[in-house]
Every structure is written in structure tokens, then in C-alpha cells.
Subunit: 394 residues, 2 copies
């Protein structure tokens, strides 16, 4: 198939021999059909990309020299390097990263394993992760686990088969001990998007949830609220627990301590609405609500409006995450900003470092700061605006 081998005299250091060398049939697909062989090739263009051998033959050097010239460039003469690069450019040579990965053992691709990319939080993390991966000359494969342990392990297995260089994971909390041990035994670098519950064998990137909760508490206190509620998810959820702890602790340790009402439920839109209904039914006089995330806060808005309560006139509301829609909805939601993009970026930075170091992995932990985004969903409970309706709760 490969025509005319052994035609070239590889004269050592012979510049003319390299530059002016007679070119064999150029390896473009169209000209690969000399007369008399047409029936062999067939009429459909058998697409054969040019390899490092083609570049080597065309430039009169060995494949190893081509590899050196194109990669690091060390240990190869300056002129030959330029020549090889020129020939490679002329032939439009593209290295086969699969073959390279086979010998180097690195696939130059990372994985993002989240519960669902449709969650706007993860979408933003993904964007940061992809940008970081790209700047590290890697690409990012996307996996949706749906928080299913088996599915997650299947993904990991599949990724290991592709010799993935590292995995950025949403969570490992739903994995049992054996599965977690299997992960560490696999030897692949792993960064978690939240703090590891038990062990510290995995690297982690996490927003400072506890400080965020405290931030929300102080903000509501400063506005003058005294009857405060916190709607959050199940007690097992690490991140949400941290937020609740920071929130409650800041309220309790204030100069004039406050004991908030804390309700647990589902941490989605429906959960926020449901908990709000429960709150309004069973607790009187609440003036401010801290929702564990923005989507729950949207559920609060819905339930409050259904009860004839206006935000912020009748009820102040603060969320957590600062997803893009929080600034778009009405009223624009005051919330705790979580640096989602930066978290994805930082996580992949760690992953790239771990992938570079072949030595024993030293896990790294980054805690990223949060900040309060003040918009229009909170107000002082004392300032009764014009036309404030006097509707009581239920």
C-alpha cells in the first residue's frame, strides 16, 4: 500500500539532501491512484491520514527525529527542526493522539462526572472546568450520574478503560466503603466538588458554605429581622448542612441572639414551595427566609405569592448559589454568590497537577470564598412601604 520504500539516501548532515529531496507521490488521498490500479483502490476515497512516517520520508529523516522536532525540540539540530516543521505543515500533518496516548499512558482528557448537567450550577462548573482543561491542552468528557451509585461506578470503569487522566466528581457520598476504596485503588486522580465526608484521600474544591450561611444571617440581622426561618435539604447533605450550621451559629452568637426555625425537605423548586407552605401554616410572624439554594428560593416565591404575600414587602428572601436566573426573575433575588466557574476551573487545575506528578498523590483542598449579592428580595421588616397589604398569614 505504501508506495516506493527505500528510495532515499539519508545522508547525515546533508542539508541539500533534506531540502531538495525528490518527493514521492504526495500522500494526499486524491493522487494515490496511479493508472492501472484504479480497481484496487475503489471509487470511494479511502481516507488515509498522513502519519509521522510520511513526514519522515518526505523530509529525509527518521521518525524519531520527526517526533523530537515536533514535540519538545530538544536534541535536534535547529535547521532540521525547522525543515521538519515546514514539511509537516506542508503535508498538513496531524499527530494521532490515540497512538501517542498508548505509549505515554496519558490520554490528555479529563472527565466531569456530575449528577445532571441540566442543573445550572453544574453547567457553570462545567464551563470553568472545560476552559481550564483546554488551557491545559486536555479535553473534557461529560458524564451524568443522576446520583446513582452503580451508574457512577460504571462511568468510572469506562473512564479508566480510556486511561482518563483525572476525574472531577460531584460527590462520592452515595458510594459505599468498598466502592470508595475501589476508587482510590484505581490510582486515577480525583477531585471532589465538596468536602469529603469521611476520609481525606481525595482532593476537594469547595465553596465556603459555612461562611455563606453566616453572611446571610448577619445580613438579615442587620436589616432588623428577628423571626427568621431556614429552609434546607435533608440532614445528610454535606454542603447544605454547612450552610445551615453557619447560618444558625451566626444567629445564635449575635449580640442579641435569635433562634431560627429550620425546616428540612427536598432541595428543589417543589421542596422550597412545600416547605414554605408548611412554614406559613405552622409558624406565625416569620419575616425573613433563608433558602438553602436559589431554586428552593424560587419555590418560596411561588408559594408566598400563592398565599398573597409579596416579596420583599411582606417577606424577605435570601438564596444561595447565585445562578444566572436569580438576577432575572422578579423580584431579583438577593443571594450568596458561589464561585461556580472558578470552582470548576480550580478543580481542573488540581487535576492537571496531579496528572503531571506521577509520584504519590498529595491531596489538595481549596476552599473558595463566597459573597453576598444584594438585590431586591430583602427589606427591613420595620419599613412598611406604601400600600402594604395587612393580610395576615392564613
Amino acid at each position: 500500500m505504501m508506495p516506493l520504500p527505500g528510495l532515499f539516501l539519508g545522508a547525515h548532515g546533508d542539508q541539500a539532501g533534506r531540502l531538495g529531496i525528490v518527493s514521492s507521490s504526495p500522500p494526499q488521498c486524491k493522487t494515490l491512484t496511479p493508472a492501472g490500479q484504479e480497481q484496487i483502490i475503489g471509487n470511494d476515497c479511502t481516507f488515509m491520514p498522513i502519519t509521522i512516517k510520511d513526514v519522515a520520508r518526505e523530509s529525509g529523516v527518521n521518525t524519531s527525529t520527526v517526533s523530537r522536532a515536533l514535540n519538545n525540540g530538544y536534541g535536534v539540530n535547529d535547521e532540521t527542526r525547522k525543515h521538519v516543521i515546514a514539511v509537516a505543515a506542508r503535508l498538513n500533518y496531524r499527530p494521532n493522539r490515540v497512538a501517542r496516548g498508548l505509549v505515554t499512558g496519558r490520554s490528555h482528557s479529563l472527565a466531569l462526572l456530575v449528577s445532571d448537567i441540566r442543573n445550572p450550577f453544574f453547567a457553570e462548573v462545567a464551563r470553568g472546568a472545560e476552559d481550564a482543561a483546554r488551557s491545559g491542552n486536555c479535553d473534557l468528557v461529560l458524564c451524568n450520574s443522576d446520583l446513582n451509585a452503580d451508574k457512577q461506578m460504571q462511568y468510572v470503569q469506562s473512564l479508566l478503560e480510556k486511561r482518563i487522566d483525572g476525574i472531577l466528581m460531584n460527590s462520592v457520598s452515595m458510594l459505599n466503603e468498598e466502592q470508595q476504596a475501589q476508587l482510590v485503588a484505581s490510582g486515577v486522580p480525583i477531585v471532589l466538588l465538596n468536602r469529603s465526608p469521611s476520609n481525606h484521600t481525595f482532593s476537594t474544591v469547595c465553596a465556603d458554605n459555612e461562611s455563606g450561611g453566616a453572611l446571610a444571617a448577619k445580613y438579615l440581622l442587620n436589616l432588623g429581622h428577628r423571626k427568621i426561618a431556614h429552609l434546607t435539604g435533608p440532614r445528610q447533605h454535606g454542603n447544605l448542612t454547612d450552610r445551615a450550621r453557619g447560618f444558625v451559629r451566626a444567629l445564635q452568637t449575635a449580640v442579641d441572639p435569635v433562634q431560627p426555625t429550620v425546616l428540612h425537605g427536598k432541595f428543589n423548586f417543589a421542596g422550597g414551595a412545600e416547605l414554605t407552605r408548611k412554614l406559613l401554616d405552622e409558624h406565625q410572624g416569620i419575616t425573613a427566609v433563608f433558602a438553602a439554594n436559589d431554586v428552593m428560593a424560587f419555590g418560596v416565591v411561588r408559594a408566598a405569592l400563592d398565599r398573597g404575600l409579596r416579596i420583599p414587602e411582606d417577606l424577605s428572601l435570601i438564596g444561595f448559589d447565585n445562578i444566572e436566573f436569580s438576577g432575572i426573575v422578579h423580584p431579583p433575588l438577593t443571594t450568596i454568590h458561589q464561585p461556580k466557574y472558578e470552582m470548576g476551573y480550580a478543580a481542573v487545575e488540581i487535576l492537571l497537577r496531579l496528572a503531571r506528578e506521577k509520584a504519590k498523590q498529595t491531596p489538595e483542598h481549596r476552599l473558595l470564598g463566597v459573597e453576598l449579592i444584594e438585590r431586591e428580595s430583602c427589606r427591613s421588616p420595620l419599613a412598611k412601604p406604601r400600600g402594604s397589604s395587612k393580610r395576615s398569614l392564613v
Copy 2:
């Protein structure tokens, strides 16, 4: 490094020889350190995954037999196949997909190349695409082009180097002729998420935008609206143009024709708000607005509220896309549902088919249906509700 070669007698058809064969040092990492060699191995666990050779040696057959037994299973004795599978399971063998990809030429991975995954539309497409890819035993790499032509081409080059099996692309409209020709010349299967503007060399998956526009028009007409506006993006945008065409045409061809006001601008939140301000300033008595997508519709809501207009009491509003937040915001947005998940799924199905067929690619075009989602942002202009404010426009 690999210990003890040539110790096994590969007796043909000797079951005892296969099953009861003496096992060499099992290739687990921990037991690879016999006494006296500790200083060679080192203390860090040099992670060496087991290969097909280990399985072959352990089961007393050749690597080719192992390959056949584990893959298609054709051409290998039933008992030996079971035995090989058992040995592979015992050793926890995982095939190296990189090595396989090198010889087969298929990487078993597809790419999703969109402008920005943070756009919830693409997030949903991505989820559908990933599910389809997974069911086809492929994985999906994520690329964000930011609608930048150079960036897009760089991604394609990088993906080609990885011998990607197919690419699902947002758009090629920003690519010039030469770049598009380069794409088709690369030979990689490509599916576009919208209709190809000029040529039909690419496969396409597209929602029926024109019908969607007509659906919105008929809905507003049925409600009794006569003063209707359409806010849309720039004239070059194919999808939005189709929606506008269907909308306008349906209004004009109605039994009692209506000539709508059509305004062009940016197709994001700010654009929706800006166009709404312009609309309210320059056109009197508009009772219904059709926004080219839901995010623009949110901008309409914002601008309308700022002007003291309530939705739907003072202004009916209908969007396009039916992103998740459309059902969450207040008021819940009536909109045209676009099957985003199904579009991603269908596109990858086509991609998988194209990747399987090595013959000349026959492009496939799928047009997916849309439907009206009736929520609470539209109302008949005749029915003036209780307490309707009489505030005039400006």
C-alpha cells in the same frame, strides 16, 4: 519486568491444562514484590494494570483467543470462552480502549460542540446527547466555542487528532466557505443542530421553528389579540428567522389578517428588555408579545414590570423553547416547547449510524415537532380582571 515467560504448555484442547494451570505471581500490584527485590520496585506502588497478555498467560491460551473470546465470541470454543471470561473476571481485567482505538481506528467517543453549555438550551441538548452516546457505548466530550470561528476550528482539529467518531455542532454559520469545506474534507461525521443554510452536506436535527411560530400566532389570535408584536434576534439567525416567518405568515393568512410589529435586537435577556422598552415607547396599544425565546421573554417581563404593566393582565406574553425556568418564574410562562433533549438524542443517534457505516455518508435530516405549553402569561385582551390598573403606556 514481566516474570517467568514460557512456562506454560499450551496443550491444545486440554481442559485440565487450562483450568488447573499453575498460576504465576498474580499480577496484583501488592504481591509483585518477592523478597530480595524490594529495592527495585520501590516503595510507591508502581501501578501496572493487567493486560490481555496476563489473561492469556493465566488462562493458557493466546492473546488472540482472549480477544476473540471477550469481544464477539465467534470462532472460539464455548468452554474456552467461558474459561477466559472467568479468568478475566478473576483478574479484574479491563481492556485498554486506547490500544483498541489505535488498531480499530475508532475512538468510541463523540463530541458536542456548542457555543456555551451554560445556556440551558444546550445543557438539555447535552443531556440527551450524552444519554444517547452512553447507550451507544460512546462517551461525549464537551466543547464551548463561544460562536468563535477560529476556536471552533481549533476544537475540530483537536478532535480529529483524537480520531473522534463524530461531532454534534451547534452551528457552522459563522464559518467561511473554506472552513466549511475543510470540515467536509476531514471526513468526520457531523450533525448540525439547525438547518444548514447553504449546502446540504451535513446532517441536521432541527425543531420545527416555523410551525412553532405559527402555533404562537394562532394561539394569540384565538385569545382575541389584534395588536401583536414579535421581538426577535438579528435577521441572519436561521432558527429565529424561521420562527418569525411562521408567526408573521400565520397572522397574515388568518381569516381576519393581522399585521404584527416585528422588532430585531439581541436575543438575550437584555435584548428582550430593551426591545420591550422600544416597543412600548414607539407603538401604542400592543396587547400581546411573542418573544423569540424564553430568555428574551424574561427580559420582556422585567421591562414591562418596570413600566407598571402586569402580565398577563395588561400584556400577554408567549415565549419559545420551554426551558425549565419558564415554569418556575412568575408568572409561569406560556411558550412553545422545543424537544431539546430529544434533539440531542436524535443527533447522536444519527452520529452513531454514520460512524458505523464506513461507506459514503448519506446525510440525514430530522425535523422534530414542537408544541404549545399553556401556562399563565397570556389572557384574552377583552377580559379586564378585577382591579386592573388603568395606567397608560408611559
